[in-house]
Amino acid sequence: MKTELNITLIARGCAITGDMVVDHGISLFGLLDGGIISTQGLLHIGEGGLVKGSAQGEHVRIDGRVDGDVHARGSLEINGQVSGDIFYSGTIRLGPRASLNGTLKRVARMLTIEADSTPDEGPIAGPRLDDVKGHERAESNVTEFSRAMA
């Protein structure tokens, strides 16, 4: 079973407000006012693209401008402007037009992923568990009601 190449393209002249999460590669040539997370593939900030927030991805290539922190679990290639701290786990390449304005840190790969995902999923997982318990109670109530009717 071959995995087909699946990418998301935000072309020039497109402006998005809010955070974006994708499970595949993405190329951004527009304007994004918020953070962007790519769990798999390449997170590409193309030339003329602008992200006003943090950017997280497996492989990150920045040819545009990012005003926020950058997290790369794999390779990181910068040939643009980054105004924020840079965390990378694999390799890092800097192009001739690279402009870094922040700290550069190499961190362990697992810590990078868990530190960001754990606090976000915590409050979401709680209500879900409560809902499941509520359904179980409802079903139990129904059974009790059916027993009472019988």
Binding site: M1, K2, T3, L5, I7, L9, G25, S27, F29, Q40, G41, L42, H44, G46, E47, E58, H59, R61, S75
Partner: protein
């Protein structure tokens, strides 16, 4: 930056294409045995029809090979039991000591005799066990002539009883076959044969005399003449009986025989005298 360049860029970082092999994945899973058995049975059902012709060919080939092998084994067993000598027998014949040069001529006689009979698969007799030639083997062979002893014995059996009387001599002549007796006599001495012919020639003219009717008076002399001849024969037999044993002496015996014929000549002269009287 067009779309193709973007695709090419993303393709560099795309995850590797992976093939999902369900049977391997299921086998790798720590699943219970029932599930794995259920997963294997469809593959067996699919592979079984493909394996049937191959298995059939294999079985046929093995069966043919087994039949041929059994036939070969049977033929080998028959050949071993009927025809060729077994390996231990060959080894035994090889272990036999070879005959010496001095013993070889002794075995050649029986070997030639055995050559005439059909082929025998048995190993040849060892030289030690081979029968040796003795005097008995030579004695059994029938000689062309007669030795002095044989001739004397043959005459002794015939002339011994003849001395007692003419009737006994006649029975003795009947008992011994005359043909062999003549042959023996002829082989012994041709001189006696000539003498017998002369005797037969001398007796021939006497028979008409005996059959003549007026010969009543002459019948008595003929009877006397026959008795005298019968007396002469034992005398010759006695002369033969006292013949010496060696051949050299037999040669001299021929001389004596000729002398005896000379002695019997007066009897013939007597007969001649009868003829003269007749």
């Amino acid at each position: 930056m067009d779309l193709r360049e973007i695709q090419r860029l993303h393709a560099q970082f795309a995850p590797d294409s992976m093939t999902i092999d369900l049977p391997r994945q299921i086998a790798a899973l720590p699943a219970p045995a029932d599930l794995t058995a259920d997963a294997k049975t469809p593959t067996l059902k699919l592979r079984l029809p493909k394996a049937v012709p191959v298995a059939r060919r294999t079985v046929v080939t093995v069966a043919i090979a087994a039949v041929v092998a059994m036939a070969g084994m049977g033929a080998a067993s028959l050949y071993k039991s009927v025809g060729a000598p077994s390996a231990p027998e060959l080894k035994k014949t090889a272990d036999f000591p070879r005959p010496n040069a001095s013993e070889r001529p002794a075995i050649e006689g029986p070997a030639v005799a055995e050559a005439t009979r059909p082929i025998d698969a048995e190993p040849p007799h060892p030289v030690v066990l081979a029968p040796m030639l003795t005097g008995k083997d030579v004695a059994t062979a029938s000689p062309i002539g007669l030795t002095a002893d044989q001739f004397k014995n043959s005459l002794g059996t015939t002339s011994g009883p003849a001395a007692s009387g003419p009737a006994a001599s006649a029975t003795a002549n009947k008992a011994v076959p005359p043909v062999s007796n003549d042959e023996q006599r002829a082989a012994a001495s041709p001189i006696h044969q000539t003498r017998r012919e002369s005797e037969a020639a001398s007796q021939a003219p006497t028979r008409p005399v005996a059959s003549a009717p007026p010969a009543q008076a002459t019948a008595q002399p003929t009877a006397e003449e026959q008795s005298s001849q019968q007396h002469a024969a034992p005398t010759r037999a006695h002369s033969y009986r006292h013949r010496p044993h060696s051949r050299d002496e037999q040669a001299s015996d021929g001389d004596t025989g000729s002398a005896a014929s000379k002695k019997s000549a007066p009897a013939n002269r007597g007969g001649a005298n009868e003829v003269q009287m007749f």
